[in-house]
Amino acid sequence: MKRAILNVMVAAGVLCMASVLSATKVGDAAPDFTGTASNGKTVHLADYRGKYVVLEWHNNGCPYVGKHYKSSNMQRLQKQWTSQGVVWLTILSSAPGKQGYVTASEENDYLAKMQAAPTAALLDPSGQIGHLYDAKTSPQMIVINRQGVVIYDGAIDDKPTTDLNDVPGATNYVSRALEEAMAGKPVETAATRPYGCSVKYGD
């Protein structure tokens, strides 16, 4: 009997490990998703095949996110890369009642106030897209290439702090991945620890 219980527990543990293992990794095909943007439009990732796509996990109460918006670094990146045909999807995976959860109109106000310029901001209060990509922090960043393969997953840059003064001297991993990929080179730093605040998923 004891052994049977143990076996069940071990099996559960293995299942649990398997679910962690199945998270998207660099080199994997980016799993497709359908999301609702704050402007009311429906976004299918698969529709962007043939374009580079950046996924940015967002939580407006997180000081690490604040660093990149107050310094206008994130907005600058959004404008720089969308002007070159890159699709930029900001994803909000905070559950209702948790830090960073906003309604569509609140998000639209925020985008206007911050002069943010993503292609779309996707409301993901169920955490479905976040879990699909195993997003752990805001601002975690993922870059997907034209063939729909994840080529970068991790931090926005190499300065894991909340200090606005650290933005100018930082190496931006997203820009570097896009530059390298567009030049036909392999992405040198393809996975890093995505520093920031934990994504505020529902329980």
Binding site: G61, P63, Q99, K136, S198
Partner: protein
Amino acid sequence: MLDRKNILDDLCIELRMRGCKPNSACRCALALGLALLLSAATTQAENTPITHGTLELVAEDQWITPGHKLFLGLHFQLEKDWHIYWVNPGDSGEPPRVEWKLSSGVTAGAIEWPTPHRLETPGIVDFGYENSVALIVPMYPDASLATQQSSQFGAALKLLVCSREMCIPGKAQLSLTLPVKTQPALPDPRTADLFATTRKSLPLPVPGGWVVKVTETSHFFVLTTNAGHPITQAVFFPLAESQIANAAPQKLVRMGNGFQLTLMKSDQLLKPIARLKGVLALSADRAYVINVPISNARSSPGAP
């Protein structure tokens, strides 16, 4: 010293998080009033208010003896449900960073980090400390200090204090002045308990006679410990980030002479590593520093 500007910023950030209007000057003014009131009411000699707690710079000894190492402690006392981070913070957060301002003739050693705890939220595991923790730092005053009557230790800290719900960055300026005397230093009875308790939570070298080995498969590291007796509980804390999947379960298999612990590799680990370094915690006051070369499992029939 109280960094009022910083506390003001922190409180304003927090009020915003609680749904206040971001540009509500009156609320921030209220926060400033509150911060001043709190500081007047609770600040003692060296206790510095930080976000959701206090921080104090303390010394183990009553004075400095030139040429002899002494230990300082950064003593954090946090409100319930708030935490700070270990040197490897895990999936989110960041450790406190200290910049020392020392008299010439004094150099600071590295922080001695107590064994951390796993701070779990769905899908995310951080490593850190709740409630109270002291970070011990050795200081090395050289013989030239003998010409002085006292010496000041200054510390500028950058901090991140978090709950499961939110994180608040902050800064703190601390200072401690100790007399300089030539006779051997006596311990300060006011801090004796703190240093004694903290030392119990520092990881130790692996006991002599233990054999610790690490093998790897494509997805896992397997840490096998032969301690000469069965061990039923162990948690591994990796020193470097991006090596193991922090949130993955660590499967322990008890063996006659120890145990085997299976650690899932991090998705961020794209290049092989030569050694596995970290802390192996068997219980609250029994943890060991691990620094072991990694060998390939000869034939791994899939995941262990």
